[in-house]
C-alpha cells in the first residue's frame, strides 16, 4: 500500500510542476511586465535617467534578466515558501486573498457535492431499474438539460422564475454562513451542474451490476427487491461513481466562478472572475494554480480510496 501511495505521489508531483510550467510560460508570453507595474508608484517623481536606474535595479533584484530556467526554478521556490506574489489591482497578497475567500467556496462546493450525490444516485439507480420506461427517459432526458449548461445561464433564468414569476423568494445576495436561506439557490444551481455525470454513471453502473450472477442468485433465493438493491447492487455500483469525483470537483469550481458575482458571495469564484476581468496576472496564476491543485488532489484521493472500496483493483 505504501508503495502504491508513493507511486501515485510520484505521478501527481510532476503533473503539478508541469501545470506550473504551463501557466508560467503563458504569463511570460503575456504583455504583463511586473517592473512597469511597480514603476507606477514612482510616476512623476523620477526623471528619465533615474527611472532607468531603478528599472535596472528592480530587474536585477527580481532576477528578470536571468534565463527562463532560472526564473522558473525561482518561481517554484517562491511557491514552496507560500509566496504567490502581489496582485496588481489593490496590491493584495495573492495567497492571503485566496486563503480568505477559499473557505466560503469550499463550504458551498461541499454542500453542492453532497446534494448532487444524494439526488443523483437514487435518480440514476431508479432510471436503471426502470430501464427503457418513461421514468428512465424522463430522468435521463431532464438531466441532459443541465449537461453543459453554464451557471450564468441557469442562475438568471432561475432568479427570474423564482423571484419575479413565482415570487417565492427574495433576491438572495451576500454571504451569512452556509445555513442561511440565501444559500438555497446558489447550492441548488451548483449541484445541478455535476448532476448529469452522477446520474449517468450510477445508471450504467447499476445496469452493469444488475446482470451479474450474484444478483440473479439473490433474486432466485427470493430476497426482497429492496434488500437486493441496497445490499448487493448499490454497494457495488457506487464504486465506479467515486471515479467521477474529479469531474464533479472541476464542475463545482467552474460553477462558483460565475455564481459568486451573480449572488454577491465573497468567495474564491469572485476572486477568479475579478482576476480575469482586470487582467491581474499574479492573481490569475495564483487561482489557476490552486484550482489545478484541487483537481490533482481530488484525483489522488480517488486513486487512494478506490482500492479500499474495490479489493479486485490491484495495487501497482
Amino acid at each position: 500500500m505504501l508503495k502504491y501511495i508513493v507511486g501515485r505521489l510520484a505521478v501527481a508531483i510532476p503533473t503539478f510542476l508541469a501545470v506550473l510550467l504551463i501557466t508560467f510560460t503563458l504569463t511570460t508570453l503575456s504583455p504583463f511586465d511586473p517592473v512597469a507595474m511597480m514603476m507606477q508608484q514612482y510616476e512623476g517623481t523620477l526623471d528619465a535617467m533615474q527611472q532607468k536606474e531603478v528599472v535596472q535595479r528592480l530587474r536585477n533584484q527580481y532576477g528578470l534578466d536571468n534565463s527562463f530556467v532560472v526564473q522558473f526554478t525561482k518561481y517554484v521556490e517562491r511557491i514552496t515558501h507560500g509566496d504567490l506574489g502581489i496582485s496588481i489591482n489593490g496590491q493584495r497578497n495573492v495567497l492571503r486573498a485566496i486563503v480568505k475567500t477559499f473557505p466560503i467556496s469550499l463550504q458551498l462546493g461541499l454542500a453542492g457535492a453532497l446534494l448532487t450525490t444524494l439526488v443523483g444516485v437514487p435518480l440514476g439507480a431508479l432510471a436503471a431499474l426502470k430501464q427503457n420506461s418513461w421514468i428512465d427517459y424522463t430522468i435521463v432526458g431532464s438531466t441532459l438539460v443541465f449537461r453543459s449548461l453554464p451557471v450564468f445561464v441557469l442562475a438568471p433564468l432561475l432568479l427570474v422564475l423564482f423571484v419575479l414569476i413565482l415570487g417565492i423568494m427574495k433576491v438572495p445576495r451576500g454571504w451569512d454562513g452556509l445555513f442561511n436561506p440565501k444559500t438555497i439557490l446558489p447550492i441548488l444551481i451548483l449541484m445541478l451542474g455535476p448532476l448529469p455525470i452522477i446520474v449517468r454513471q450510477t445508471r450504467s453502473a447499476v445496469l452493469d451490476v444488475f446482470s451479474q450472477d450474484y444478483v440473479r442468485t439473490a433474486k432466485m433465493k427470493g430476497l426482497h427487491i429492496w434488500l437486493i438493491i441496497f445490499r448487493h447492487i448499490l454497494r457495488n455500483a457506487l464504486i465506479p461513481v467515486v471515479t467521477t469525483l474529479g469531474f464533479v470537483a472541476e464542475g463545482l469550481i467552474i460553477g462558483t466562478i460565475f455564481l459568486d458575482s451573480i449572488f454577491a458571495i465573497p468567495g474564491f469564484g469572485a476572486l477568479v472572475e475579478a482576476s480575469f476581468r482586470n487582467f491581474d496576472y499574479p492573481l490569475i496564476m495564483g487561482v489557476t494554480m490552486v484550482t489545478s491543485l484541487m483537481i490533482i488532489l481530488t484525483n489522488l484521493l480517488v486513486d487512494l480510496v478506490y482500492p479500499l472500496l474495490d479489493p479486485r483493483i490491484k495495487l501497482e
Binding site: L29, P31, L159, S292
Partner: protein, 330 residues
C-alpha cells in the same frame, strides 16, 4: 462473394415499378440513421441543430437590423412589432443580435471541435501505434492538460496570447497593408478557437487510443492479420469505421460544451468582445438588470440553453444509434 454478382440485379429492382427486394442489404450507417430517426428526442435535437445551422449561415441576411444599429429612441424596449424580442440597453435589436450570436457560437464550436479532433486523432494514433514510450508520453500530456480546469486554462491562453498576437497583426498590417490584418476582430475568434481546442484534445486522444488498443484485440482484426492483410488496410477498413462511432458522439457533445465555453469566455470578458454579438457577452452585459429588464438576459440565456439541449439530445440519440451495445455510458 455473391454481392458483386447480385449488385446489378438489385439496381434493376430499385428502378421504379420493379418489385422491392425483400431484404435489402443494410449498411452500418443506414442502420444507424434509421435508429436515429426513430428516436423522438433525437428528432427534436436534429431540428434544433438544423435551425441553429440555418441561423448561423443565413442569420445575418435575415436579421431585420445590423448587430450594431442603435435605435436611441427605443432603448430597453419590451418585445414589439418593430423589435420582435425587444431592444437592449443601448437600443440594439435583440433578435438581430441573437441571430448574429448564433453565427459566433457555431463558428467557435465547429472550428474548435475540428481542431481538437485533429490533434487528438494524431496523438491518439501515435499513442496507439507508437509503442510504449510514445504511449507514455502522450498519456502524461493528456494527464497534465486534464488536471487543469479547462475553462481557466482556455481563459488563461486567451488572456495572455491576445495582446501579443494583436500587436503582431498590427505590425504586419503597417508593413504590408494586407487587408486581412486591417481589422483584428477575427483574431478574437481565432484565439478562442485555439484556447478551446487546446483544452479539448485530450479526451479525443484518450478515446482514439483506447479504441485502437481494444479493437486490435478483436477477433476479426486478428483474423485479418493472420491472413496477411496489411496494417494500413486493417486500420482503414476495420479500425476506422468501428472507432468512428464513439468519436462522432463525443464530437456532438463537444459542440455544445464548446458553445457553452465560448459563452463563458465571452462572459468573463476574454472571449468575443463587444460590440461583436456573442450570447455570453449579451448575458454578461445584462445580468445586472435581471430584476427590472428580465427579457434582456432571458433571451440569450434561453437561446443558449435550448441550443445546447438540442445538441445534447442529438448526441444522445447518436450514441444510441451508433453504439447500440452501449448503455448510455457516456
Amino acid at each position: 462473394m455473391s454481392q458483386s454478382a447480385s449488385a446489378p440485379v438489385l439496381k434493376s429492382l430499385d428502378s421504379p415499378g420493379a418489385l422491392k427486394p425483400i431484404s435489402k442489404q443494410r449498411s452500418l450507417w443506414g442502420d444507424a440513421m434509421r435508429r436515429l430517426l426513430r428516436n423522438r428526442l433525437s428528432l427534436i435535437g436534429l431540428t434544433i441543430t438544423s435551425l441553429l445551422l440555418f441561423a448561423a449561415l443565413f442569420g445575418p441576411a435575415l436579421a431585420p437590423y445590423n448587430y450594431t444599429d442603435q435605435d436611441l429612441l427605443d432603448v430597453a424596449q419590451l418585445p414589439s412589432r418593430a423589435h420582435w424580442l425587444g431592444t437592449d440597453e443601448i437600443g440594439r435589436d435583440l433578435f438581430s443580435r441573437v441571430l448574429y450570436g448564433a453565427r459566433t457560437a457555431t463558428l467557435v464550436a465547429v472550428f474548435s471541435t475540428a481542431v481538437s479532433v485533429l490533434i487528438g486523432l494524431v496523438l491518439g494514433v501515435v499513442a496507439g501505434y507508437g509503442g510504449r514510450w510514445a504511449d507514455a508520453v502522450v498519456g502524461r500530456l493528456t494527464d497534465i492538460v486534464m488536471s487543469m480546469p479547462s475553462l481557466l486554462l482556455a481563459a488563461l491562453i486567451a488572456v495572455t496570447l491576445k495582446e501579443p498576437i494583436v500587436t503582431w497583426a498590427k505590425g504586419v498590417y503597417e508593413q504590408t497593408h494586407f487587408p486581412l490584418f486591417a481589422d483584428t476582430t477575427w483574431l478574437d475568434l481565432l484565439i478562442v478557437f485555439g484556447g478551446l481546442a487546446f483544452v479539448q484534445w485530450p479526451s479525443y486522444a484518450r478515446l482514439i487510443r483506447g479504441q485502437i488498443l481494444s479493437l486490435r484485440n478483436e477477433q476479426y482484426v486478428q483474423a485479418a492479420q493472420s491472413v496477411g492483410v496489411s496494417e494500413i488496410t486493417i486500420a482503414l477498413r476495420h479500425l476506422l469505421p468501428n472507432a468512428l462511432g464513439p468519436v462522432i458522439v463525443n464530437m456532438t457533445f463537444n459542440l455544445s460544451s464548446a458553445m457553452a465555453a465560448e459563452a463563458a469566455l465571452s462572459y468573463l470578458g476574454v472571449g468575443v468582445m463587444p460590440p461583436q454579438a456573442s450570447w455570453g457577452n449579451m448575458i454578461q452585459s445584462n445580468i445586472g438588470s435581471w430584476s427590472y429588464r428580465p427579457w434582456l438576459v432571458a433571451v440569450p440565456a434561453l437561446t443558449l440553453a435550448i441550443v445546447t439541449l438540442g445538441i445534447n439530445f442529438l448526441g444522445d440519440g447518436l450514441n444510441d444509434a451508433l453504439n447500440p451495445k452501449s448503455s448510455k455510458a457516456i
